[in-house]
Amino acid sequence: MTTDFANHSESSTGTHMKVSVWRGEGNSGAFELFQVPAQENQTILDVVAWIQQQSDPTLSYRYACRVGMCGSCAMMVNGKPRWTCRTHVNKVLQQGRLEIAPLRNLPVIKDLVADMSEFFDKWVKAEAVFHPSKTRHDAIEPINPASPKRIAASAAIECINCAVCYAACDAVSANAEYLGPAALNRAWTLLNDERDSANSERLKAVSGVGGCHNCHSQQGCMEYCPNELNPTASIAGLKRATLKHLLGWKD
């Protein structure tokens, strides 16, 4: 399937942009400069696609939905983690220049493609996984959508695992074992899920070396989350929950 959305070689504005793109495999690499025709309406994903389709077919990058729903196209744009399909070029162009790199805090496979394995491994490590407490033979658990716990869970539940928050977080860069904002955010939603049965394992999982207490509330996660989630708030909730658990305070 070819996408036609970026194969103009002519620029609609008559100018070209200087786009620096990270090229390389694994630990080694360098930025390569491309001259990309500027269009009036263009996203960063359009730019990357243009380069791969019109200039250098060896460029590797990821995307899927291209409409801001899947999170696959997340990259560092001028040093900030963003969804490239939802980033308009004229919002981020700096004096006719752009810099595009793979997501920070993750190993690079090739060019703009980051290895998401550790991100998902930490998801599991944080017990951000649903553990059912009933079987199909039991009655369905009635959940009141207005209960405080459900409201807390619902506020954090729209995460699509794009790893933008993980890339933004300096606590992740400082501690290789830190579980990270996304995994902890999900753990918090499950902690508040009345159907879940694994809360004591979960509290233990988020209290260790890589746990929620690494968070310094820099709130880069909240700043950059394209779904406007607030992992820092979720992590604060985990801090309260782990303290209560330590002090033997029954909830």
Binding site: A174, N175, E177, G211, H213, N214, T242
Partner: protein
């Protein structure tokens, strides 16, 4: 890197110090009004159990708080881990507690 226990100690020592810090700043603003002299300071503090308690608590809390705070900074900026990190933390704690208690004694002993 903090586990839940260290995190609790950090927050607790902070909360203990909150009123003490305010008191200390207010006192300093008052004390420097007409210049500062050794006899002035000592005349107010010597022989006072209250000052000994105030500053003794302050010294203990700040030793705990600074030791844990520096532990986090060292963990995040260097490769120090495990036993070495624990030794460092205790060293900072002792390195503040000992001179701190000496200072409290020096200005409150009569």
């Amino acid at each position: 890197m903090l586990d839940v226990r260290l995190y609790l100690l950090q927050r607790l020592s902070a909360m203990v110090m909150a009123p003490l810090v305010l008191g200390h700043i207010a006192m300093m603003i008052y004390a420097v009004q007409d210049g500062l002299s050794a006899t002035e300071i000592l005349s107010r503090t010597q022989g006072s159990w209250l000052w000994a308690l105030f500053y003794g608590t302050f010294v203990l809390a700040v030793s705990v708080h600074a030791a844990i705070g520096l532990r986090v900074i060292v963990f995040e900026t260097s490769g120090l881990r495990n036993r070495a990190l624990t030794v460092f933390t205790w060293a900072v704690f002792a390195g503040l507690l000992y001179p701190g208690i000496q200072a409290v004694y020096a200005v409150t002993a009569s």
